[in-house]
């Protein structure tokens, strides 16, 4: 029996009634085409069509027929749906001629992964995803409150967020995730759930699934989950640290070399150097919102400067202490508003560029970067990440390597959307300005 028939049998055995065919648009928003079990055979033959012109950043109206090609390995039952049994399959998008659509982020990542594979590497990625759980107000709209008004209800102190997180962990486990850690984070109402590393494509899929699960379960707890990078001024924002290692096709960790002082291989140093070199270029992808850059400020454990360290947590890249098969580098600027497919494609491409051109990284920094003065930074040639979305898009436009990772179509649509966002933001008169200037002038 082939894999399609096996999947069909499995879906019928599990009495699944609805199947959500999922794909992600350029801005990182998950889209669903829902079908009933009767249509599943058709879907598995890539015959399900949708109108691409109705999806942000896809295509113009005259070329709008798109096809979904389900990735059978991503079939999963959604454990929270009790009315009818529902499942999902993640799909690649194909255009009407049957070729992979270049505007599909998952296809873009696959392309870069293929390049890595041709060089003899597999990228393994483990994300650390942070989020906030807020309360909703009486109209059901999300608020910034993390506690009910204690005097109003005579309630025993219950850790609502903690309980919701427990449920999220359980649901993720049912969906096949291996949870490594789940804990409260620095800020009130902030949480983190870490799941086990996997190859880059599986991890990008997992991040999308993770976000859906967190949002859905939060709702069932009367809470609103947000992946907004910096929801509150003055407290830590939410990051999505990316732990990466290259694995050779024989299954060995290509970043580990016993003979080196830091026990890092040549490939690790070159990869690291490539990522540092293109950090400015891919910032628009890993930190794609206006709000992202309010997280990347000194003082809240988020990186600001482009440097690396084997110990200190303040620079952009840290090398966690574990060695051997666990040797990896941790990139600390990405945030959870990023499209995981595009972010991983851009970072990997940058690292591969380092390996291809044998770029050497600058010397590591060991002191706390937040305390380094300007002269010292200039002397060492340490640059900062872009300070806002506008600068990030400018940097992206000058980085041919990252642009190549995205492909022309995605790059253009992405840059248009980011600049539109920036212009809207720039024109808006914020409360901060009113408070600051209304009386003063």
């Amino acid at each position: 029996m082939n894999s399609k028939a096996l999947l069909l049998e499995k879906a019928r055995e599990l009495e699944v009634e609805f199947i959500h065919l999922q794909f992600t648009d350029i801005l990182g928003v998950m889209k669903n085409v829902s079908i009933t079990i009767e249509q599943l055979p058709k879907a598995l033959d890539n015959e399900i069509m949708f109108d691409g012109s109705s999806v942000d950043g896809f295509v113009r109206i005259e070329e709008s027929d798109m096809y979904l090609a389900p990735d059978l390995s991503t079939f999963a039952v959604l454990p929270w749906a009790n009315n009818y049994k529902e499942a999902r399959i993640i799909c690649d998008v194909y255009d009407s001629s049957g070729t992979p659509f270049e505007g599909c982020p998952r296809n873009a990542l696959k392309k870069v992964l293929k390049e890595a594979n041709d060089l003899g590497y597999i990228l393994n990625v483990g994300p650390e995803c942070e989020f906030f759980l807020f309360h909703t107000d009486e109209a059901g709209e999300p608020s910034l409150k993390t506690h009910d008004n204690a005097g109003y209800f005579d309630l025993a102190p219950a850790d609502l967020g903690g309980n919701a997180r427990k449920d999220m962990t359980l649901v993720l486990k049912q969906m096949g995730f291996e949870i490594e850690a789940s804990h409260h984070e620095v800020a009130p109402g902030q949480h983190e759930i870490d799941f086990k590393y996997a190859d880059a494509l599986a991890t990008a899929d997992n991040i999308m699934t993770f976000k859906t699960v967190v949002r859905t379960i939060a709702q069932r707890h009367g809470l609103h989950a947000t992946f907004m990078p910096k929801p509150k001024y003055g407290i830590n924002g939410s990051g999505m640290h990316i732990n990466m290692s290259l694995q050779t096709l024989e299954g060995k960790n290509a970043f580990y070399d016993e003979s080196d002082e830091l026990k890092l291989s040549k490939a690790a140093y070159h990869f690291l150097a490539g990522v540092l070199k293109h950090a400015k270029g891919f910032a628009a992808i890993t930190n794609p919102t206006v709000n992202s850059y309010k997280r990347l400020v000194p003082g809240y454990e988020a990186p600001v400067l482009i440097a690396w360290s084997a110990s200190n947590r303040s620079p952009l890249i840290r090398i966690p202490a574990k060695r051997g098969n666990s040797t990896r580098i941790e990139l600390r600027n990405p945030d959870p508003s990023a499209n995981p497919y595009l972010a991983l494609a851009a970072i990997l491409k940058a690292g591969l560029e380092g390996i291809n051109n044998s770029i050497e990284p600058p010397a590591p920094v060991s002191s706390n970067l937040y305390h380094m003065d300007k002269a010292e930074m200039e002397e060492r040639g340490i640059e900062g990440l872009p300070v806002n979305l506008y600068e990030a898009v400018q940097c992206l436009s000058q980085d041919e390597v990252v642009k190549e990772a995205l492909g022309k179509h995605i790059y253009e649509k992405f840059a248009d959307a980011a600049l539109y966002e920036w212009n809207e933001y720039s024109r808006y008169v914020s409360q901060w300005e009113i408070d600051r200037y209304l009386k003063k002038f």
């Binding site: 309360h135 009486e138 209800f153 309630l155 009367g222």
Partner: protein, 187 residues
């Protein structure tokens, strides 16, 4: 008089306070919620014995909230409404209590319905716990039977001997018969 806790979830202040005050006289432990998400949050914190919920609760679809509450076994929902047209009978059949209260609230009727609902909810909950226990022991027995069959085939022993082997192994390994049977089935 009694220790039952009741959450009154109604966005209308007059009606909420009215129900609250009436139930207060009967000695219930009372809580209030003014919107859907708040109802879920309080339900999760205190697991009330009953939630009296207005179908026009703000910020949500009250039926959806009620479904989550009963699915996750946080409590039992008794709907109130100001119009019979707002009640979906098919939905109501899926709930623990197949009944609702019509506003304006009549005192005696409220007392009766609340008592009746809590009593029925307790009954349903203890019955479903019993069913679950039976189902899981039935499942366990099926496994033991299958494992016995495998042992009888492999070792050419009688059914009784196969059972003895299973029990011996369960005691030796400090594991339940079901777990030992599972190991044998997996091979």
């Amino acid at each position: 008089m009694n220790n039952y806790s009741v959450l009154v979830a109604d966005s209308g202040e007059t009606s909420r306070k009215h129900i609250y005050n009436l139930l207060m006289k009967r000695g219930y432990k009372l809580y209030q919620a003014t919107d859907g998400a708040g109802t879920i949050r309080i339900a999760r914190s205190i697991n009330p014995d009953l939630i009296i919920m207005d179908v026009d609760l703000w910020g949500c679809n009250a039926q959806e909230i009620a479904r989550i509450i009963e699915e996750d076994r946080l409590s039992t929902v008794l709907f109130i409404t100001n119009s019979v047209n707002k009640i979906n009978n098919d939905m109501l059949k899926q709930m623990n209590i197949y009944a609702y209260l019509l506003k304006p609230i009549n005192q005696e009727q409220l007392y009766q319905m609340v008592e009746f609902s809590i009593f029925n909810a307790k009954k349903i909950s203890s019955l479903s716990k019993k069913i679950e226990k039976l189902e899981s022991s039935l499942e366990g027995r099926k496994k033991v039977d299958r494992a016995k069959g495998i042992l009888m085939d492999k070792l050419k022993v009688t059914e009784n001997e196969a059972y003895m082997i299973l029990r011996r192994r369960s005691m030796d390994k400090c594991k339940s018969m079901e777990e030992v049977a599972e190991e044998i089935i997996k091979g």
